[in-house]
Symmetry: C2
Subunit: 370 residues, 2 copies
């Protein structure tokens, strides 16, 4: 590593630390105010369960009583993976850019579900091995043309790892609008991913951060058979063995066995925390990004909402490490942000409950006998 790289690495590190230092915790006063408001509505206290918890969390995040979401955005972060050389996926790597085009044409699953909930899909090129032309729904945050093959060498340099996180933070900052009066609306974002090979990287991250056996956090991805799964597990074991990621150093883990889009997702989450907006986490790959964010800054957890529990085997370990309980389990295993979209819909329902229901006195309904 020459001097320029060292200097750049130092610069990126201090920029990242500066960002992380701006992550706060939930606002206790807003939490209390939300609790009081919920308890006066015409329903037994707490009877709307996690919808009430969501409304409180959103109040705690934004630090005020928000009554609606002004901008709902799913960021589908895309990147390629050198480890596809090891035949870890049933789909060819060309599918990554092909699916980016599918997202941009508005006909992929994430577009359909985002439209269903009134959200916008922004596709972020974090590191696809293809040059896209400009497009209104594409954000260019390319760190490289795919990672290197982690079964042979580190997937990326430490600089690239930090750059991918910083690019995710930057994406969140640029795309959050916050244009409304402070007492009314807020943004909400959802994370999503696209990248052939990225369950392999995510399983590797989960194995290291959750301190789990690789076989316990490695699943079938888009649809491997038993032989393919066996190979995938061996590839991940090899990648961890030769690269020796330091389990206390999130940047080292991301660099050695991660992916550009996974770093981008970690950055998005950190960006949401900095901007004090809720971030709804999609499934397994987004969960791996969330693990990186958590490792870098445990307080980011307060800003996360786990949407669903994925079919992918390692997701339970990830959710447990994050300390998050998913809102639903629809046996999804697609990614793109599909689960996050449906999760945002629940978050929106919770805001409406808090703001549109009658109180006991307004509705002249008798209270509970004590």
């Amino acid at each position: 590593m020459n001097l320029n790289h060292k200097e750049n690495e130092k610069k990126l590190y201090s920029l990242l630390m500066e960002n992380l230092s701006r992550v706060g915790i939930l606002d206790a006063r807003a939490l209390n105010e939300a609790q009081k408001k919920l308890d006066n509505l015409t329903k037994p206290k707490g009877s709307l369960g996690r919808l009430e918890e969501l409304a409180m969390q959103i109040a705690g995040i934004s630090g005020r009583m928000v009554s609606r979401f002004d901008n709902k955005t799913i960021f589908t972060m895309a990147g390629d993976h050198g480890v596809t050389e090891e035949k870890v996926s049933t789909y060819p790597k060309e599918v990554t850019p092909q699916m980016v085009f599918n997202f941009l044409s508005g006909k992929a699953a994430i577009n359909v579900l985002a439209k269903h909930i009134g959200a916008e899909v922004m596709v972020v090129d974090m590191g696809v091995s293809f040059d896209f032309e400009d497009h209104p729904f594409l954000i260019n945050k390319k760190v490289g043309y795919g990672t290197r093959n982690m079964a042979r060498e580190p997937a990326m340099t430490r600089e690239e790892a930090m750059q991918s996180i910083l690019n995710g933070i930057e994406t969140c900052k640029l795309a959050t609008v916050k244009k409304t009066e402070p007492d009314i609306g807020t943004d909400i974002i959802g994370t999503g991913d696209m990248g052939i090979g990225n369950t392999t990287a995510s399983s590797a991250i989960a194995a290291v951060i959750c301190d789990a056996d690789v076989a316990d956090v490695t699943g079938l991805g888009t649809g491997l058979n038993e032989e393919g799964l066996h190979n995938k597990i061996n590839v991940i074991r090899k990648a961890i063995k030769i690269n020796k990621p330091d389990k206390e150093d999130a940047i080292d883990i991301l660099a050695k066995v991660g992916g550009f889009e996974i770093g981008g997702i970690a950055g998005l989450i950190i960006g949401a925390a900095i901007n004090r907006i809720p971030v709804v986490i999609d499934g397994f790959i987004s969960g791996a990004g969330a693990l990186i964010a958590l490792k870098l800054c445990p307080d980011t957890k307060h800003f996360m909402i786990a949407s669903h529990q994925s079919v992918e085997k390692g997701h339970i370990a990830i959710l447990s490490k994050l300390g998050l309980k998913p809102l639903f389990n629809l046996d999804l295993r697609l990614g793109e942000g599909t689960g996050a979209a449906l999760g945002i819909n629940f978050a929106e329902a919770s805001l409406k409950i808090m703001n549109e229901m009658a109180t006991f006195s307004e509705a002249k309904v008798s209270g509970k006998s004590e």
Copy 2:
């Protein structure tokens, strides 16, 4: 029982049986067509899990490829319960009509969530101890002014039980529109309930039909303390002991330990099956209604979609007996149809997935290597 009652009972029974005989099964051809359509979309096969299952079920129910819901309706069935004399609830029974007014004014939780998903709330007076004036969102299907106290005598007569089911079937028929061209839209309905004391009746039904110990299917309702729960369990035990409901006879069970709104919910489900429209089941009380429907006609099960798993203790036993897997668990315990509303939203998402996504060939995305 005098001759008039006997004749009326026979008439109601044959009317009910005639209705039940019209319940069919899922359409195999439509199921296959839906499966094929889903498998060609730009996602790994089956990767949208239960959303794909929902889309298929809806095709099988309607017998054709529906692309949208034309009318989404939540029926919130209300009734009073004589067993409230036994102090089984923390709320006074006056809350039942008060909440009906709250529903009609559009400010209760179910109104907020129905509006969120674009559905209408129809309140059905199945047996509230109050005379309501006409209202565009109120359907008068009153069977009586609340049930009798099941801890002392049967909650209703066999005639009343059958009438409540028939009134539910009638409600569904009247309210389902089916106005669109046959190949485009369909209706979907959700069940909901309001009735102080109705978790007591529902636990009694669950204990009998699921062959469970009363304590295992009796929960805190709107918020009992330990002493209150103990009393509630004893009241239910007593009701079952003195009334001796025949566990093979759904009408007998409903009559002796049920409720008018629970019979109405059973009827709604049967009505949905007859009209071949999907019915989304809310929580614990709706589950008790579904048990009655299932017992009367096992094929009604194919038309049911279980929305959520409730906090109420006996709900797991009910779902297990129904053989249904809920879509989500948000720790809800409010009823009204709140969970059903969110479930309808998932069902609608599933239709959009099937109809709006690009196929692999349309999007020029490479398929899986075999």
